[in-house]
């Protein structure tokens, strides 16, 4: 279908892309533009009801944010929480991927299936099931540990730990499966050559497998950063919208609550713009990592 000689052929890709554009322009590009626009306006309940025109604030919402101690706390919490989740996800995923290469068929299938189940579980069900397991009065965990009456969501850090565990449980399977596939794809002759040269399993792992896997590792890391930075459902559901006095807020929940709970749609949009900007920067690193794998666009 390549290289149409007549005008009709030259326009073919445009026709093929037209449905995509018809969806993405009004439902993706335009809201993105609106998000930026809203972030420069004073837009609250009076404006939503339609009576009062929106007032242009310029960078006003951003100044409000940057001078608000709460915003910085939430930002720091989001970064810290995402970083901890990424490290834990990668550690668990990588360890289990290596483990998978060293076990017999039955345990491998068992672990693969278990991981598949955790991967498939919607964020919503994962959150409520873990909440039930860790329930103050009826939870299995408190019963087994003899902690009857202990509320896991009362303390900020303990609550984050529990939410983090759910996030890791949901996301390590992707890391495990991808890295396992990567390790399996390392050519056998390379490993045999390393062994002939006297490399033990540890040296072979560090000097042969890891360098070959580096591009895949980079993608897995950045994909995890993006996912864990965007966590919404688990935090929102498990802490009932941000925890006691908003102690477990992360950026996405914070923006949502500012907009839909306290009707500060302009301010909420400004937080959304900040989140988007941070993720776009991460994405640029992702693109560089992709390019290094040699994938032609």
């Amino acid at each position: 279908m390549r290289g149409g000689r007549n005008g009709h052929g030259r326009l073919m890709p445009l026709w093929l892309l037209l449905p995509t554009l018809a969806v993405l322009v009004p439902l993706f590009a335009y809201p993105l533009y609106q998000l930026g626009l809203l972030s420069t306006l004073e837009f609250g309940q009076p404006q939503v009801s339609g009576g009062v025109p929106a007032r242009f604030l310029g960078a006003g919402n951003y100044t409000t944010l940057l001078t608000d101690g709460e915003f910085w706390t939430v930002l720091a919490q989001t970064v810290g929480f995402a970083a901890a989740c990424v490290v834990a996800t990668l550690a668990v995923g990588a360890a289990l991927a290596v483990l998978l290469t060293r076990v017999d068929r039955v345990p491998r299938l068992l672990l693969s299936f278990a991981a598949l189940a955790a991967w498939a579980a919607p964020a919503m069900t994962g959150s409520v099931v873990w909440m039930f397991l860790f329930d103050t009065n009826l939870g299995l965990v408190n019963e087994v540990l003899g902690l009857s009456g202990y509320n896991w969501l009362y303390d900020r850090d303990v609550a984050f730990l529990l939410i983090g565990a759910v996030v890791v449980w949901h996301s390590f399977p992707f890391v495990m499966v991808t890295l396992y596939a990567g390790i399996q794809a390392v050519p056998k002759p390379v490993l045999e050559a390393a062994e002939l040269d006297g490399a033990g399993p540890w040296v072979a792992w560090r000097r042969v497998i890891v360098p070959i896997l580096r591009p895949i590792l980079a993608i897995v890391v950045i994909q995890s950063i993006i996912w864990d930075f965007k966590v919404f459902t688990q935090v929102y559901v498990m802490t009932g919208g941000g925890g006691i006095a908003g102690q477990n807020m992360v950026l996405n929940v914070y923006a949502y609550q500012k907009a839909f709970a306290s009707s500060q749609y302009g301010l909420g949009s400004a937080i959304g713009v900040v989140t988007t900007a941070i993720l776009v920067v991460v994405t640029l690193f992702y693109l560089r990592a992709l390019r290094r794998t040699g994938e032609a666009l």
Binding site: P13, T20, P31, L110, A118, M124, Y256, L290
Partner: protein, 278 residues
């Protein structure tokens, strides 16, 4: 074999820990209420019952929510497969200006935190509903539209690998034999890319099926149009949770996704491989 007992045990243990929450969910959904509320929970039950499922589906209306979720997810899957297929063909089988730019834009679009777009999309849907009745807030169509938009960039990105794998010679031969471009598209490329479409569809299905934030934001007053995840939140009552019902509803919500995953599990890796490295 003997020196493998340690890794084997470790893997089996890891599998047990990983699958346990799912097991506990299904088990609790089947336990009689008395056993759930007992202060000595046991990891088994001798009296399995379907009362929680009956209650969730009947009284609590989860049958309706299940149907709503299924309608939204299937519409998204069908539309997204069709639209993404056309776009993937354009981006792999043709060379034109801005091709790379478009590809990069699709990649960046996947990274945009869609949660942030709830705010402008809420107003867009509200205004749309005033102009076109039956499309705006409180309708399933609004959910289909946003989920379609969010699943397309990834679907296109992933399908690209499958379309590229079809040799150009096939299409050229067909064109020489006098086939029209439409014939080449639907009679040659489409069937050959079908396995890729199946894999891609799973991801679209899961995005749409799992959506919580848009269902919660858009479906405000018309509760009969609620989908499963947001409906489950309404089920939640502080301090007096009906855990049996919640677990039954969660099981209903998890089951279709699990079936899809098992169905395509072989393609998951190769599909991601397509996204990772071709």
């Amino acid at each position: 074999m003997t020196r493998r007992w340690l890794p084997n045990t470790a893997a089996a243990l890891a599998a047990l820990v990983t699958v346990f929450p799912i097991y506990w969910m299904v088990l609790s959904a089947l336990k009689p209420t008395g056993e759930i509320e007992s202060s000595r929970p046991r990891p088994w039950t001798w009296h399995p019952t379907l009362e929680h499922f009956r209650h969730a589906l009947g009284v609590s209306g989860f049958g309706r929510y299940f149907l709503n979720s299924a309608v939204v997810a299937l519409c998204v899957v069908a539309l997204s497969a069709l639209i993404a297929f056309l776009a993937a063909v354009a981006l792999t089988k043709f060379r034109f200006r801005f091709r790379t730019t478009i590809l990069v834009l699709f990649l960046i679009a996947q990274m945009v935190p869609v949660e942030a777009l709830t705010i402008p999309l809420f107003f867009e849907m509200r205004d749309l509903g005033r102009v076109v009745p039956g499309v705006g807030l409180n309708t399933l169509v609004s959910l289909v539209l946003v989920q379609l938009a969010f699943s397309l960039p990834f679907a296109i990105w992933m399908l690209r690998g499958f379309v590229a794998a079809v040799p150009d010679e096939l299409e050229e031969a067909a064109l020489i034999d006098g086939a029209s471009r439409g014939t080449v598209l639907w009679r040659i490329l489409f069937p050959l890319v079908a396995p890729g479409l199946a894999a891609t569809s799973v991801f679209s299905f899961i995005t749409a099926w799992n959506d919580f934030i848009f269902a919660k934001t858009f479906i405000i007053s018309a509760t009969q149009n609620q989908t499963l995840p947001a409906a489950l939140l309404v089920f939640f009552k502080p301090d007096e949770n009906d855990w049996g019902g919640i677990m039954a509803a969660s099981t209903l919500m998890t089951f279709p996704v699990l079936v899809f995953f098992v169905f395509v599990q072989r393609r998951l890796v190769s599909g991601l491989g397509g996204a990772v490295k071709d």
